[in-house]
Symmetry: C2
Subunit: 343 residues, 2 copies
């Protein structure tokens, strides 16, 4: 049997192609009888409308793009992206959309732009991080393609975004360390120029202020979300700040690097030093020692982003929404009370 199309179905059901189209699209104004006949044929032959033809006729593809930057292998490999993407993907499938997952790199920016912005006709785009340049955002907006950002970006108040409450997350982590008696605490943060970092730093400091403890600007470092960065910074600090007893890392990957530096310097965790991460990656429970971390609902972020996007595809007028999800401190084995430091 050859591939079915709407005309063949119409013929088999003894109706016109318009009736078939109406049935398929759940339009009103079709008699129960006709609907029956059509559905029978549809089921019998498992007919599905050709989405390409439909897209051409409706000017909407039911495809959305997910854009992230092609950062180094290390960060790529941490599982955060897969989980975020999974959340997006499953929500989209549930709502009848299909997803393109693209990595944005400077070397491929051109090809990608051509595809994304000109040839392909996406119904919407989710940008997973800031490296996705202004250019992209502007071009997309020009074409009136709805966008959702994962991670708030104050530069685009009119674009919907989803993020975790970064201030709270960092505050909880710092508070936990303070309650364990730590006073000299370092903080290693990721991406500069990103609101996320700003908020995490603020939350971190606020916890100390609220506890009436001084904070040392010098022991706050901003680099990148990589193991490498955590490793290097921690190595430096071990020499520079021998009195430091705990560390807050703005990602679990940073914490991994820091943990390794500590291990190599024979500083046992949590006996002599405490470490808190951020993200709650699936692997964090298998670090040595299992990492205390601020878990974010990564899958949920993806899910919400997809929801916002599809909603705004369906009704353009709505105001921009900026969602904040709550992170949660997960206490494991990398933190413990300070030793030999009576008040």
């Amino acid at each position: 049997m050859d591939r079915l199309n709407i005309d063949k179905v119409a013929k088999l059901a003894h109706v016109s192609r318009s009736v078939v189209s109406r049935v398929i699209n759940n339009h009103p104004n079709v008699s129960e009888e006709a609907r029956q006949r059509v559905m029978e044929v549809v089921e019998k032959y498992n007919y599905r409308p050709n989405s390409v033809a439909r897209s051409l006729a409706t000017r909407s593809t039911y495809q959305i793009g997910v854009l992230t930057s092609r950062i180094g292998e290390e960060s790529l490999g941490n599982g955060y992206w897969s989980l975020l993407y999974l959340g997006i993907f499953e929500e989209c499938i549930r709502r009848g959309y299909y997803v393109h997952f693209s990595f944005y790199s400077s070397t491929m920016a051109d090809e990608l732009h051509q595809y994304l912005l000109n040839e392909h006709h996406l119904d919407g785009v989710i940008c997973l991080n800031e490296e996705v340049t202004d250019f992209t955002v502007k071009k997309l907006a020009e074409k009136e393609i709805p966008i959702v950002l994962v991670g708030h970006n104050p530069a685009y108040p009119e674009i919907c975004s989803v993020d975790v409450n970064n201030y709270d997350g960092a505050y909880k982590a710092a508070k936990h360390l303070i309650e364990l008696g730590h006073k000299q605490v370092g903080g290693i943060f990721g991406d500069q120029n990103v609101q996320e970092t700003e908020h995490r730093i603020k939350g971190f400091k606020a916890a100390f202020e609220d506890a009436g403890l001084p904070t040392n600007e010098e022991s706050i470092s901003v680099g990148s979300y990589s193991q490498r960065d955590g490793y290097r910074t921690m190595n430096r600090w071990i020499k520079k700040y021998p009195e430091m007893t705990a560390l807050f890392c703005a990602s679990d990957t940073i914490a991994m690097g820091a943990l390794l530096a500590l291990y190599e310097n024979k500083i046992t965790v949590p006996d002599k030093f405490s470490v808190v991460g951020f993200d709650g990656l699936p692997i964090s429970r298998y670090l040595i020692p299992p990492l205390t971390t601020v878990a974010q609902p990564t899958y949920g972020k993806g899910e919400k982003a997809a929801q916002l996007l599809i909603d705004s595809i369906n009704n353009r007028e709505k105001d921009a929404v900026h969602l904040n999800l709550e992170p949660k401190l997960v206490i494991r084995k990398s933190t413990a009370p300070v030793k030999n430091q009576g008040a």
Copy 2:
């Protein structure tokens, strides 16, 4: 300026739409003069043909699907998938294809099948693992949609596949341990019923046989590629086989789990116990201690898979190719010579 289409370009360039089409598609039989005129307009207005319309006319979408199973979060989060996908994605973009990344789960199988097999018209599909059921493969084959498997599957000799030389990889790992003097070596493997596992086990055993050493069937376990599995099995073995001095894990994730079990039991690595992983994940160098592992060209596997797929989309006749890439032993800090075991 309204959105351009082929007719408007034709008008602006004072030629017919077919000439424009020929220029766009690099067909011969168009005068240099006409080509010039068309190109000028194309560049001036940055015209790109609508890929949807083109797909409808040519019956090919220039889109391929990548299918993997939605395994547990842990395995998802290990970075292997992202890297594999990245390889596929970038090769596809270079060759003008666009990629859908889909997770196959039993709960969503229906929606996905409808999409993949009926509504959407993919030019080809790459299956990343075996959980992608027979059903899918058969349906795809029925529609004459080219497929490439990542990981050989003897059940489908007629389908192209890419894999790493699993026998060699495991052999190298075992040989390394043997050369360090280890004689009681356990092996934890992943997925059952998969050729990959069979070959890794064979390679593992062969190294011992070649060294004239006995192998103990009991200390070979086959479970899943998860930290959890490595953790549990190692925990059991610590009690059961106190004489064991080394372990080969069929994935870095399994090794992570084993490392944690060892740590919790205060068995220091590599002083008292050696561990070798498999995969060479980006994170493996940040484990504690940094993991000796059999590195596979994960990105390269993806790249090759995409190449094979696009090749077979373009010329259907070719015989099935089964590529084997070479893995490479990367020696780090989790392996050392056995202690207190003279001969």
